[in-house]
Symmetry: C2
Subunit: 397 residues, 2 copies
Amino acid sequence: MPDKPLPDNEINAFVPGPRVHIDGRPGGPLSGLTFAAKDLFDVASYPTGGGNPDWAKYNPVPTRHSWAVQRLLDAGATLVGKTITDEVSLGIVGENAFYGTPINVNAPGRVPGGSSSGSAAAVAAGLCDIAIGTDTGGSVRVPASFCGLYGIRPTHGRIDVSGMMPQAPSSDTTGWFARDAQTFAQVSSVMLGESIPSALPHRLIVAVDAFAFAEPEVVEALRPLLEKLKALIGDVREEVMAPGSIVQWARAQRTIQPSEAWQTFRDWIERCNPRLAYNVARNIYRGSQIPESERHWAELVRREARGRMCYLLPSGTILCLPTTPFPAPKRGEPLSLASVQRDRILCLCAHGGLTGVPQISIPGCTAEGLPIGLSIVGSHGSDAALVAMTTALGGPV
Amino acid sequence: MPDKPLPDNEINAFVPGPRVHIDGRPGGPLSGLTFAAKDLFDVASYPTGGGNPDWAKYNPVPTRHSWAVQRLLDAGATLVGKTITDEVSLGIVGENAFYGTPINVNAPGRVPGGSSSGSAAAVAAGLCDIAIGTDTGGSVRVPASFCGLYGIRPTHGRIDVSGMMPQAPSSDTTGWFARDAQTFAQVSSVMLGESIPSALPHRLIVAVDAFAFAEPEVVEALRPLLEKLKALIGDVREEVMAPGSIVQWARAQRTIQPSEAWQTFRDWIERCNPRLAYNVARNIYRGSQIPESERHWAELVRREARGRMCYLLPSGTILCLPTTPFPAPKRGEPLSLASVQRDRILCLCAHGGLTGVPQISIPGCTAEGLPIGLSIVGSHGSDAALVAMTTALGGPV
């Protein structure tokens, strides 16, 4: 958060049109806090835009709030805006050809990360305290890393996704961002419906394959936070996360997710022939062309990856890895370079959608002045224990 | 042309923004006539939009007129507007997701045909006397048929394409529309740089495979005009146009044209990641995926087709066929139906791009109240002889 916040319109975090404002219930645990919602979450009486000018045309204006928005309002947080997202949540760098790229105040000239781009940009710029996003293939974790925020992808299936626009349901999750560990713990407790425990994990696995895949300066930048984490936990082991290769996991995720996304969007495509950025249309089309035999293969890899995560992560064990292989890339890179960057990012994110484990990206490190996140991953349902770990790590390294 | 012309803004033929108006040179052969130019033709000091909001960003505002615009201005015609086109000339029905679908006054509720949609709609509605368009795979012939206009695809390579936005150069041509035979002959003489001869073709070939491919009601609707044509020429033969099948010709054209379009647009795509309607993006992407072996096969079919046209069309012989297999489809059809319609249309148009022969679509017939064109085709360079034939056919059947 900069010393002097930029005005809203210079951040370009919020969707165009009338700004939503709904006061939270007085007296709740989040009273006094403000939040923003990615434009994939229904807010009653406001169209859900989905980051594309032709999505709202096809879908009625919602008459009730999404579960996540209602949950935060009930807890006392005040909704102050809906945020820009990559088109129909397909994108990882946070550039939207229709609504522009939100400003990453912590990395000038760089992308904010996506697809929850506006949510991350708004929190980073201090326009709100909390923001909700979605994470299918990295859409909370990546902007958290690029913008220097706490960001969680919860256990798949744990958070009610009612009123959240789907993309690939077997990987879709609702996540959230905050700037500081205390606010992050507060909102996490509300969203998880569980108090944050005081006991910490007692074993740490360092995913050596994931660290090896990241740029050397990222590994160097994360070292102080990693050392602090090791010191807090004590029992540390180095392990390969994906013995079959993280690239194979990424390839399986890039088979399952686009195939499901095609099923989600095909009727819209057929009826509306929507306007889309070239790369988004290309990716949707590619999803339509994936043969059943490839999907079956990918499901086997998913099964194996889930087994691997169960083996690696018994209760009380967490795993750590760089959230992204590099800090936020420059804005406006040519398409072929952006595609390569996306594929590299996916290699460190695919385990989330593939196996459903919870993951938190922790801020505090910078590589050449740019934020970079360290992630901790736990077993299914261990979300609150991961939050406890972030609280214990506390403020600056 | 309706009895009482609709106002401009109800036709949606012209591109948004300031309307271009450039007076023609006084005293020329087209003095007193007005024309419009598809937004693929450069007009000095006006951006060439190409039917897409991200094309002009990538290309500088032209400093000189395209050859075709200059030619008509020099001949005395006054330019009164730039017209809507399918995005980057990729499309055959005339629906543009960014600028809307021009109104076809002669077929209410139906598409105008594309990609020269606004040019055809403007002439049909009486907003101008003449309009120029481009025809790569049918983009003048199809809207001429659907809107009930005279429209020509000249011999490939005959008309200077300087300042015309390319798509697939080995098939691209500059064409034009008019409502009546006399105006059509006048503008044709200017554009071809040749006076229209008085001698008529002396032999007519009826392309039985093309007639068989059209809907029965189209064949029935064209019969009176066909009989008039037969009577004027006298020597009539029935022949198969494409012994290898018109579907094979269409497939070859659908290989060559998208491959070349990808070469034309790839740098724009790479640098701008432009916004496009889904089907346009899909078709560009498919063009990028066509293997070299398929392109080689298609070039062989093109060579064979050119040989066939040379054999069929010695000097003095013309061939006739339905311009389109059906009249203008309804507006807003679902994507899969629109794709099938496009492929069927292409089967009657592919010979143009494939072989480069000139073709004129002649109006005057209707099927169930909707305009439908009869086309005449001649050998390379016989454009003026085809125009002479349309003049001889004269007014209503």
